[in-house]
Symmetry: C2
Subunit: 342 residues, 2 copies
Amino acid sequence: MSEVERKRPSTIHEVARLAGVSHTTVSRYLQDKDSLKPKTRIKVEYAVKALDYRPNLAARSMRTRRTNRLAIVLATGPNFPGRALSAAAETAHQAGYQIEVVSVEGGPRVRAARIDELARSGQVDGILAMSSIDLKSSRSLEVPLVRSEIHDEKLRVLGELAGATEVREIIEYLAGLGHRTFLHVAGDQEFSSARNRKSVYLETIERLGLRSVGVVDGDWSAQSGYDAITALPADCGVTAVVAANDVVAMGVIRGARSRGWEVPRDLSVFGWDDEAMGQFATPSLSTVSVDREAQARDAIHRLLAEIQGKPAPERSARTLNHVIYRESTAPPPPADGRSEAQ
Amino acid sequence: MSEVERKRPSTIHEVARLAGVSHTTVSRYLQDKDSLKPKTRIKVEYAVKALDYRPNLAARSMRTRRTNRLAIVLATGPNFPGRALSAAAETAHQAGYQIEVVSVEGGPRVRAARIDELARSGQVDGILAMSSIDLKSSRSLEVPLVRSEIHDEKLRVLGELAGATEVREIIEYLAGLGHRTFLHVAGDQEFSSARNRKSVYLETIERLGLRSVGVVDGDWSAQSGYDAITALPADCGVTAVVAANDVVAMGVIRGARSRGWEVPRDLSVFGWDDEAMGQFATPSLSTVSVDREAQARDAIHRLLAEIQGKPAPERSARTLNHVIYRESTAPPPPADGRSEAQ
DNA sequence: CTGAAAGCGCTTACAG
DNA sequence: CTGAAAGCGCTTACAG
């Protein structure tokens, strides 16, 4: 409301004048205090303190063509990876970089366009894409770009999708318990993680000669899990559900209970993400713990390495994800064979 | 690894040369295409396209002393408000602003110092503090600052804390059901929200002449809820728990069950946040739905208004929070009076 | 060790 | 409607 009186930041010239030196000297002081004669240094030091001077970073970055700022580009939406972002910011700060979060409404193409723009804006030294982007050649950008999802791409080349190991482990484990008929409630297929899990699910079911009553394409919501399970015919024979994440799994469990199927007595359910609440739910959720923070840290380190022209750092951990077995999974009910007999 | 060839962004001078005009004209074109004679405009248009020119924003902001960038300063940690941040970013983008996320390790003083630095860095037009900060005079900063927590401060002056209404409503509701003996598992007391809820809890218990067996200062974790409830003496007589948030509430419920207390039969439990999983848990969680997105949007709008010297906008909604009653709360067990009789 | 000068890429009065 | 000039606040050779 009322106009607040704002301080005007002091400039390097004012400091120079007060110290009785040239602004060149002040600049030098800022870069390396020891490059000044002690007497001069003290004068400048005093003036800087007295004026509470802080250099204008916009001007500096214009001159040096470095901004010490990284952009993280991601999709807007409910899946906003808060903790990963926090970890990324922390890692960047430790290296003297700021993080600019660019959360873009729209699809992979829009994000790619935004990245292109950012790259030449002179406002960032590097870019991390945390959501999938539709970019032809990442190498013609003005600044380095690291794609978190590149894991996927790279691994795909090796015939292995991100998350593939875990989905396989889950299904093999359930099959080992005796389950034969499965359902997958997938996440939003806009997300490569959701697509990956789905295709590995189908692959593994096929390979092990199991039966899938289908894949329901959900939207990561609990409701989608609830709906998927309550829509199932009574005699479908499903005894195990692989849910896209823990929230979906909760929906599945609740939906199952609403039709008289107890978990894990009648139905086994797997989630994904190892969310805090899942461990204390009843039944506690079998799930996959994903160290998104570590992944984010890795990504920033890779980006910094590229910016500084150093070789790419080692991955911090070989296996970032691991499967956690809790109460929501158990052997199938003995009556299982009944409805499954075709 | 291999040195990637990077494009050098083209400058306004190159565009000018190609178009056969002065760079002044190009700049003018950038500001307002219609200020040029059609013939000129077309020449410039062509050159901009041909060179795929995008202005260097660092240079522009140096000249105009505006950056179109807002900083959001918050604490690092598990409570990273992802969705609020996403909403804030979206709102800012719509107004043509970028968001810089500055997540600071340390306490309120450290954050305040960081804000002071940011304010004079020339890199942001305004700052939003999402975590509590220890700042003497916010009015002497070089750029506008909006404090999300100012709700607290302002309301406190009016004798009302943020969240006070809801805590009161919860306790009055539970008392109305017949509950007389309560427990509060508080959140990390570093957070003003946690402190507020705690003090209103104590106040209301006192005012209504109820009994509190104590307040356990937790850390927002499910484990803290679990521990709090399992540590209770068997004859404490507690029949209702107000937990700091949904995660804590899940811990409480699980802990209660571990000692044979069923929720809500033996114990009523309230959470806070209305997290997705709570609605589908069994029992589903009574909780407080908090529209953090709306709060974040409001905060950005207030900040933008200050930056543009406009009057502060209206709050988007009078009541952002509301209490949700679900299965985790019910009347106390009839045997209640027993252990309570002193 | 220090200063005068040039320049980073823009925008904005000021003339014409 | 367009251009020449000044300048935003810095850093960095280049002299001395």
